[in-house]
């Protein structure tokens, strides 16, 4: 109850209530997340349950198109394997969000620790860590991800890959993007470490690790918070892109990206809904995250106050 009061009484909340864009995007995002994580409850079908899928239902159009073969069971039609589009999308969005958030947690964990050490210690340690980050950044995310996924699929085969795809994608995307965090955190740490409260903490006789993690780190969290929103969106996009070229989530547990891909082969034959609906869902998801991130950045940066 106290926590609730603290949140509703905060400036953040006040500012939030006065920004229609923020409210709008937060509502949409909340709706999407609740719908996707509540998919087992809300979804009319379970796309993971092989027994309920009938290949004869494949590629049925959405009911409201009025087409002759539209089936009242499938609101948005079915995909090439006869799964209900709406249910598959909900489950798929859950996979996408999981990968996005998971990858960002991993990125930030690696990046924050490395950035903190580099910024605080300085000297050779900093040079080494930041060059490492530069090297990592000079490989594009997709290149690293494609490479690792392809090698993994090649060695262990598609079957094993399907089992570990979720974890592997989190790992690959998370690892490819840590330098973003390392750089941001390092820059803030360098600004913070010369402030007197750090000097005071040293004078008090606190151990270095404690100064770094308890005194400096919380003071560098603002920019981290802001890039995190953008990075979640980026990670979801990366996953979608990888899935689109067939190196992401397997068709048996599709993400939004793999759904778009599976529909892509049928667009020419008139089955537009298989790609279109997951595409719209992806765009709305990314857009709402980014808009929320923009608002957060504006809120946390007093220099950008709008008139």
């Amino acid at each position: 109850m106290r926590l609730f009061k603290k949140i509703t009484g905060s400036n953040l909340f006040y500012n939030f209530l006065r920004d229609p864009m923020a409210i709008g995007s937060a509502t949409v995002l909340l709706f999407l997340i609740v719908a996707s994580f509540g998919a087992p409850i809300f979804a009319p079908h379970n796309p993971y349950d092989q027994t309920t899928i009938d290949i004869m239902d494949a590629e049925l159009p959405p009911i409201w198109t009025g087409a002759a073969d539209a089936d009242s069971r499938f609101l948005l039609g079915t995909d090439p394997q006869g799964r209900d589009m709406l249910s598959t999308m909900l489950y798929g969005m859950r996979v996408s969000v999981l990968i996005g958030v998971g990858a960002v947690v991993l990125q930030s964990l690696i990046g924050i620790i490395i950035g903190l050490i580099a910024g605080y210690k300085g000297g050779r340690m900093e040079a080494l860590l930041m060059r490492l980050a530069d090297v990592q950044l000079s490989f594009s995310t997709y290149m690293v991800a494609i490479f690792i996924s392809a090698v993994f699929q090649g060695i262990f085969g598609m079957g094993v890959y399907s089992d570990y795809a979720l974890g592997l994608l989190i790992l690959v995307i998370g690892f490819a993007e840590w330098p973003q965090y390392a750089r941001t955190v390092r820059a803030s740490v360098m600004a913070e470490k010369n402030k007197e409260y750090v000097e005071a903490a040293r004078v008090i006789g606190l151990p270095q690790r404690r100064i770094m993690f308890r005194h400096i780190l919380p003071n560098t969290m603002t920019p981290v918070l802001v890039i995190s929103t953008v990075q979640v969106a980026n990670a979801i996009m990366s996953e979608a892109a990888l899935s689109f070229i067939g190196l992401g989530m397997p068709p048996s547990q599709p993400s939004l990206g793999s759904l778009i891909k599976s529909g892509f082969d049928y667009i020419a034959s008139g089955s537009w809904w298989i790609s279109l609906f997951p595409g719209i869902a992806l765009v709305v998801l990314i857009l709402s995250i980014n808009l929320l991130g923009d608002w957060l950045r504006d809120y946390l940066n007093p220099k950008l106050y709008k008139d």
Binding site: Y197, A200, V203, I204, G205, L206, R214, P218
Partner: protein
């Protein structure tokens, strides 16, 4: 132990800064003693090396600076030979430091209570409850009203004077034997300055702590300290009892400083000043650093750096101050 050895004994302490193409000496052979529960004022203008000396005592000169020579003996131990682990236990535990700007020295994202308890836990095994009790008692000592409530507040919820009180309370937590106060009142407004100074003075007496007061304000230091060391260009120019320094300064620099105090001048007259400014680190002369501004300068001053010697009952570093007969044994 029978013969009281000084709490803090600084011998020929030098601090240098390594620049790209030269080494600059900011503190050059500073020596002084500080006895238990004694108060020493370290006075000097900006860049004289006061604060660097303070940090050097705690072995906390930050790069590119380093201690280039000399020794610091604290409670009989040479701090140069002490391990980093032990040094950390001395910092904040036996020696506390108070800084100029209390807004900057408190971490903005931690509550006062968190910061106080953290200090305690860094130095002794103490339960949360006991730590809180001790923190409360210290807050009461520095006259913070309703300390229970204050413990859960953040630094921005306090006024400047209150913040400095809290910083002092944090410094007191571990009952140190020495407090180094680096310009503790400079960032505060004048009415509060006096309060804080008095508080610091009373606490030092009550808790039997020694105080090293670093300041540029002769008026403040003469009220608080028992002895004063005047620093100029990295060296001690004059060291003596407060009374001697204020009433009978020997070094021309000290004399100039005292003449510049407003209360010494008749109304409606321009304040006295010492012409020129302190030579910067890059252009220290071969002889006395005060040479260019000195009224008494002689030929020897240009060639030779004066050593800190006992003259007329005080320590002075000046070639031109002559020992007056009869005043010698005092």
């Amino acid at each position: 132990m029978q013969k009281q050895e000084p709490l803090l004994s600084v011998r020929e302490l030098s601090v240098a800064f390594k620049m790209r193409d030269c080494v600059l000496t900011a503190v050059d052979g500073v020596s002084f003693d500080l006895d238990r529960s004694q108060r020493l004022g370290l006075v000097g203008e900006s860049g004289a090396g006061k604060s660097v000396t303070g940090f050097a005592l705690l072995n906390l000169v930050s790069r590119p600076g380093y201690i280039s020579g000399g020794h610091v003996f604290f409670e009989g131990r040479d701090l140069a030979t002490v391990s980093e682990e032990e040094m950390r236990n001395i910092r904040g535990n036996r020696i506390s430091m108070i800084f100029q700007d209390p807004m900057m020295t408190l971490n903005p994202v931690l509550t006062i209570g968190q910061q106080m308890i953290e200090t305690l836990k860094a130095h002794r095994h103490i339960s949360q409850h006991e730590a809180e009790k001790l923190a409360l008692s210290k807050l009461q000592k520095v006259a913070i009203p309703s300390p229970e409530k204050r413990l859960t507040q953040y630094p921005h919820e306090f006024s400047g004077g209150m913040r400095q009180r809290i910083v002092i309370a944090i410094a007191l937590l571990t009952s140190p034997s020495l407090i180094i106060a680096d310009e503790p009142t400079t960032a505060l407004d004048v009415t509060i300055q006096a309060d804080i100074m008095e508080l610091l003075l009373n606490l030092c007496e009550e808790e039997e702590m020694a105080l090293l007061l670093i300041t540029h304000d002769l008026a403040v230091v003469s009220q608080v300290a028992e002895r004063i060391a005047v620093m100029y260009a990295g060296r001690i120019a004059e060291l003596g009892s407060t009374e001697a320094i204020v009433n009978a300064p020997q070094h021309p620099y000290t004399q100039g400083l005292l003449k510049a105090l407003p209360q010494k001048v008749e109304r409606r007259k321009r304040l006295n000043q010492i012409p020129g400014s302190m030579p910067s680190l890059q252009e220290r002369p071969p002889g006395c650093a005060f040479y260019d501004r000195c009224e008494l300068r002689g030929e020897i001053c240009h060639r030779e750096i004066p050593r800190l010697e006992e003259k007329n009952g005080g320590l002075v570093a000046c070639h031109m101050v002559k020992t007056v007969a009869g005043k010698e044994k005092k």
